[in-house]
C-alpha cells in the first residue's frame, strides 16, 4: 500500500533521520549496563559479517520520544586493536566497514574511578573529529574511593558534554538522553600536539589517506596516528584495506625510524598520556587517602595461595551442584510435558507415519533440546554473575599458571569448565579469548570435557557393568570420575599438542585488568542469560529438529511387514542397515551393529543412545535407572551366542563416548564460531579417531588380558 506523499517525504527527510550513536569504552567500565539502561529490551543482536563478533544495536528514546539508534561496540582499551572484537570497534569508528555506516556521534563511557587509563581511548576518539559525549560512570564508587572529579571543569577543558552517571542505579540517564537528543553537539576543543619527530609522517600519511583512501581530513589524521601506533594491526574480514600508496609511505617512515632508532609508537603513547596527565591534574583530586579497598580485602582471601583454591573449588562445586540439582525438577517438568503432549497427539490422531513424524521426530527432537534448557540457563546465569562481580578475572588469574603449561592462558578456563555442562555455551564463551589461535584451540578441545548429555550413557553403562546392588556406591562413582578425568586429561593433552603443532603461535599473553569487585546488576545478568539461552535454543534447536526428523525417517523406512515389532522395524530400517554397514568398523572395538545404531542416533544428542537401546533391545521402559533396559542389555548376545555387553564392552563404550564427537549441535556451533566447515570437520575426525583408537586399545588389550 502506498503511503500518502507527505508521510513518506518526512520519513525519508534528512532532518528526521535517526541519529546513530556508537557506544564505546574500556572493558569493565559498565558499558553493557549503560547500553541496557538506555535501550531496555529494544536490542537486536547479530553478527558482523565474516567475523564472529557480536553486533548489538538498540533503540533508545529521547525525553521527547524520538528514537535514537545506539550501536554497542566491543570494549577496548585502545583503537590499536589486538583482537577481532577490538578490530571491529576500530573499523566501525573509522568508517572502514561496508556493513556498518560510520556512526554520526560517539558516546564514550569511562570508569570514573580510573580516569587516566580510561581517557586514553577517549583521547584517541576525540581525534576522529566526530561529536562526542563523555559519560563518567561509577561516580558513586569514585567518591567512595576518595576521588573528587570536577565535571564542569572537564567539560570546559574538553569542550564536549560530560555527564556524571551511575548506570547501574539509572542515575544520570535523563541528563544523558537530553544531551543525546541535542540537534547540535560541539566538537572537542581539546587539542594536543603531535610530537615534532613524528608530525611530518602524520601529515604525509594523512594526505595519502585523503587522496588514496578517500577519507575526510580529520578521520585521516586520526587514522594516520593510529597506523603509527598500531604496527602489527589486526585485520578482519569486512574491513576495507588501505591503498598501496598509503602502505608504502607508512613502510618508508617505519624503516627510516627503525634505522634512526626513533621509538615512534612509544613517543605517541607517551605524549597522549602527558596530555591526559595534565588534564587529570586539573580535574581529579584525591580528597581523602583511603585504606585498602574492599576489593583488596576480598582479594587477600580469594587469590590467597591456599584459600584461593578453596574458594575456586567452592565456587565450582556450587556451580555444578546447581546445574545438576536445581535443574532436575524443571527438567522433569519439561520431560513430563513433552511426553504428555506427545501422548495427546497420539490419542488424537490416527496411527500412521505423519503422527509418528510429529511425535517421535519433531516433538521428540525439540524436547531433546528443551530438556537441557534449565541447565543452560543456570550455567549462563552463573557465568554472567561471575563476570559482573569480577570473580571471572580472578579465576583466570589463579588458573593461568596451570593453563600455561599446555600453552593456553587463564581465560580458557571458564569456557572449558562450562563445557562440563554443555560444550555449546562453553564454545560461545570463548569469545572473550583475544588471541584467535588460543580461541580456536579452546574450541577444538572443549567438547572433550564430559558434558551432561554423556551422563545418561555413563550411568547406563555403569549399571550394566556393575549390575549388582551389592557393589559399593563408590565403585560406581569411581568409574564415573575416571571418565570425567579422562576427558579432561584428553582436553589438556590435545590443547598442548595443537599449540605445539597445528596452531603454533606466540606464547599467549595474559595482560588483563582485575576489576574491583562489584555487586552484580541482576537485570544485566538476567538479560545476558536470556540472550545466550535464546541463541542456544535457536541454533541448537533448529539443527536438532532437522537431525531428529532425518533420524526418525531413517529408522521408520523402509517399512517392515505389517504387525512387526518396533525392534524388527528398526532392524530392517535404513538406520539398522547403517548399523550393519558400520559393523566392520566397530567390531574391532567390541560393538555390534545394534550398538552401531545407537552410535548413529547419538548424533542428535548423546543421551538419545539410551532410548535407542531401549527400542533396539525391546525393553519396555528405556531409562538408565530402571532395571528392564539393564536386563535386556545383559541378555543381548552376538549371533554366535557370546554375551554382547561384557564388562569390557561397557567400559570400552564409555571410553568411546568420552572422546567421540557425536553432537550435531556442537558441530553447528563450531562451524558458526570458526566461520566455516574446515574446523568442525577436523574436530569431528580427530575426536572420533581418538575415540576409536583408544577403544581399540582398551578392548583388544582387555581381551588379551582375559577380560
Amino acid at each position: 500500500m502506498a503511503l500518502p506523499a507527505h508521510i513518506t517525504a518526512t520519513a525519508a527527510g534528512a532532518t528526521s533521520r535517526q541519529p546513530v550513536y556508537a557506544l564505546v569504552g574500556n572493558p569493565n567500565c559498565g558499558k553493557s549496563t549503560l547500553f541496557n539502561a538506555l535501550t531496555g529490551l529494544k536490542q537486536k543482536i547479530g553478527n558482523y559479517p565474516g567475523v564472529t563478533v557480536e553486533k548489538k544495536v538498540g533503540t533508545a528514546y529521547s525525553q521527547h520520544g524520538q528514537p535514537i539508534t545506539v550501536i554497542d561496540l566491543p570494549g577496548t582499551y585502545s583503537l590499536a586493536a589486538r583482537s577481532p572484537d577490538e578490530a571491529v570497534t576500530r573499523d566501525v569508528l573509522l568508517g572502514r566497514r561496508a556493513d556498518t555506516a560510520q556512526p554520526d556521534r560517539i558516546l564514550c563511557i569511562v570508569d570514573a574511578t580510573n580516569l587516566e587509563r580510561n581517557l586514553y581511548l577517549v583521547h584517541q576518539i576525540l581525534d576522529l573529529g566526530r561529536p562526542v559525549i563523555l559519560v563518567l560512570n561509577m561516580m558513586d564508587l569514585a567518591a567512595r574511593s576518595g576521588l573528587e572529579i570536577n565535571v564542569d571543569q572537564l567539560e570546559k577543558l574538553l569542550g564536549i558534554p560530560v555527564i556524571a552517571c551511575e548506570a547501574i542505579h539509572q542515575r544520570g540517564l535523563i541528563e544523558l538522553k537530553l544531551a543525546m537528543s541535542r540537534a547540535d553537539l560541539p566538537l572537542a576543543r581539546h587539542a594536543w600536539t603531535v610530537p615534532a619527530a613524528i608530525a611530518p609522517a602524520v601529515s604525509e600519511i594523512a594526505a595519502a589517506l585523503v587522496e588514496g583512501d578517500r577519507k575526510s581530513p580529520l578521520v585521516a589524521r586520526a587514522e594516520a596516528l593510529l597506523l603509527l601506533t598500531d604496527q602489527d594491526s589486526v585485520r578482519v574480514a569486512g574491513s576495507t584495506p588501505l591503498s598501496p600508496r598509503t602502505t608504502e609511505i607508512l613502510r618508508a617512515w617505519q624503516s627510516r625510524w627503525t634505522q634512526e632508532g626513533t621509538d615512534w609508537a612509544g613517543t605517541l603513547v607517551s605524549s597522549r598520556y602527558d596530555a591526559i596527565g595534565a588534564l587529570a591534574a586539573e580535574v581529579v583530586q584525591l580528597r581523602t587517602e583511603v585504606g585498602p579497598s574492599t576489593s583488596d580485602k576480598i582479594d587477600a582471601i580469594v587469590t590467597h595461595a591456599l584459600w584461593g583454591w578453596v574458594v575456586l573449588g567452592a565456587v565450582m562445586t556450587l556451580l555444578f551442584f546447581s546445574i545438576f540439582t536445581l535443574a532436575e525438577s524443571p527438567m522433569n517438568w519439561i520431560d513430563g510435558h513433552v511426553a504428555a503432549l506427545s501422548d495427546t497427539i497420539k490419542s488424537a490422531m490416527p496411527p500412521g507415519d505423519l503422527r509418528d513424524l510429529i511425535t517421535d521426530g519433531a516433538i521428540g527432537g525439540v524436547g531433546g533440546v528443551l530438556i537441557f534448557l534449565p541447565q543452560i540457563l543456570i550455567l549462563f546465569f552463573f557465568i554472567g554473575l561471575l563476570e559482573s562481580t569480577g570473580y571471572m578475572a580472578r579465576a583466570a588469574f589463579i588458573m593461568d599458571r596451570l593453563m600455561s603449561r599446555v600453552g593456553l592462558n587463564g581465560k580458557s578456563f571458564i569456557p572449558m569448565l562450562s563445557s562440563y555442562a554443555c560444550a555449546i555455551p562453553g564454545i560461545m564463551a570463548t569469545r572473550t579469548i583475544e588471541d584467535p589461535k588460543d580461541r580456536l584451540v579452546t574450541i577444538l578441545v572443549a567438547p572433550l570435557m564430559s558434558c551432561s548429555a554423556r551422563l545418561p550413557v555413563y550411568l547406563l553403562m555403569i549399571a550394566a557393568l556393575v549390575p549388582g546392588e551389592r557393589v559399593p556406591v563408590f565403585t560406581k562413582v569411581g568409574i564415573m570420575l575416571f571418565m570425567y578425568a579422562l576427558g579432561t586429561a584428553g582436553a589438556f593433552f590435545f590443547a598442548w599438542l595443537f599449540k605445539r603443532t597445528l596452531l603454533k603461535g606466540e606464547p599467549p599473553l595474559m595482560i588483563m585488568e582485575l576489576p574491583p569487585y562489584r555487586l552484580p546488576g541482576f537485570k544485566d545478568v538476567a538479560l545476558h542469560m536470556l540472550e545466550r539461552a535464546w541463541i542456544f535454543v535457536r541454533r541448537a534447536g533448529t539443527v536438532i529438529l532437522g537431525i531428529s526428523i532425518i533420524l526418525w525417517f531413517l529408522s521408520a523406512y523402509p517399512k517392515a511387514p505389517e504387525g512387526s515389532t518396533p525392534t524388527a522395524q528398526l532392524a530392517q530400517s535404513f538406520a539398522g542397515r547403517a548399523g550393519h554397514a558400520i559393523e566392520p568398523l566397530i567390531k574391532p572395538i567390541g560393538f555390534d551393529w545394534q550398538i552401531g545404531i545407537g552410535l548413529i542416533s547419538s548424533f542428535a544428542a548423546r543421551e538419545v543412545f539410551v532410548s535407542t537401546m531401549g527400542v533396539v533391545f525391546n525393553a519396555e521402559s528405556a531409562d538408565e535407572n530402571t532395571a528392564p533396559l539393564r536386563t535386556a542389555l545383559l541378555s543381548a548376545k552376538w549371533p554366535d551366542g557370546r554375551t554382547l555387553f561384557t564388562p569390557l564392552v561397557c567400559f570400552t563404550l564409555m571410553i568411546f563416548y568420552v572422546f567421540a564427537m557425536q553432537c550435531m549441535s556442537t558441530i553447528a556451533v563450531v562451524k558458526r564460531e570458526t566461520n566455516g566447515w574446515k574446523w568442525p570437520i577436523f574436530q569431528t575426525l580427530y575426536m572420533t579417531g581418538t575415540a576409536w583408537i583408544l577403544s581399540f586399545m582398551v578392548y583388544q588389550g582387555g581381551r588379551a588380558l582375559g577380560f
Binding site: Y77, S78, A80, R82, T113, N114, L115, E116, R117, Y120, T229, D230, Q231, D232, D263, A265, G266, V269, S270, Y273, S295, D296, D299, T303, H304, A305, L306, G308, W309, A393, F397, I398, D400, R401, L402, S404, G410, E506, P507, L509, M510, I511, M512, E513, L514, P515, P516
Partner: protein
C-alpha cells in the same frame, strides 16, 4: 641514577613500590602495556602473585593489572627507597 639500582619487575618483592624505568620498544605485549599506562616514570606497586607464583598483579594508575613473569622479566623498575 645508577643503573645498578634497576631490577626487573618480576624481582620486585610483594608490596613494594617502584618506578618504571625501561621497557622493550617492540612487541605486541609491550605496546599494549604502554597503552594501558605503563610508561617510563610511572609508579606502580606489586600487589601480589597468583597462588602458583605466576602471573603477578600490579597496581598502576589506580587500577589492578595482571601480567606474566615472562613479560615482567623485561620491564626494568627502580624500587622506591
Amino acid at each position: 641514577m645508577a643503573s645498578a639500582s634497576l631490577i626487573s619487575l618480576s624481582q620486585l618483592p610483594v608490596g613494594a613500590n617502584a618506578t618504571l624505568r625501561d621497557f622493550p620498544k617492540a612487541g605486541t605485549a609491550f605496546l599494549r602495556l604502554r597503552e594501558m599506562g605503563l610508561l617510563a616514570g610511572t609508579t606502580l606497586t606489586l600487589v601480589r602473585t597468583a597462588p602458583m607464583g605466576d602471573p603477578i598483579e600490579i597496581k598502576v594508575r589506580g587500577y589492578h593489572l595482571t601480567l606474566r613473569k615472562s613479560e615482567a622479566d623485561h620491564i626494568l623498575v627502580e624500587p622506591a627507597a
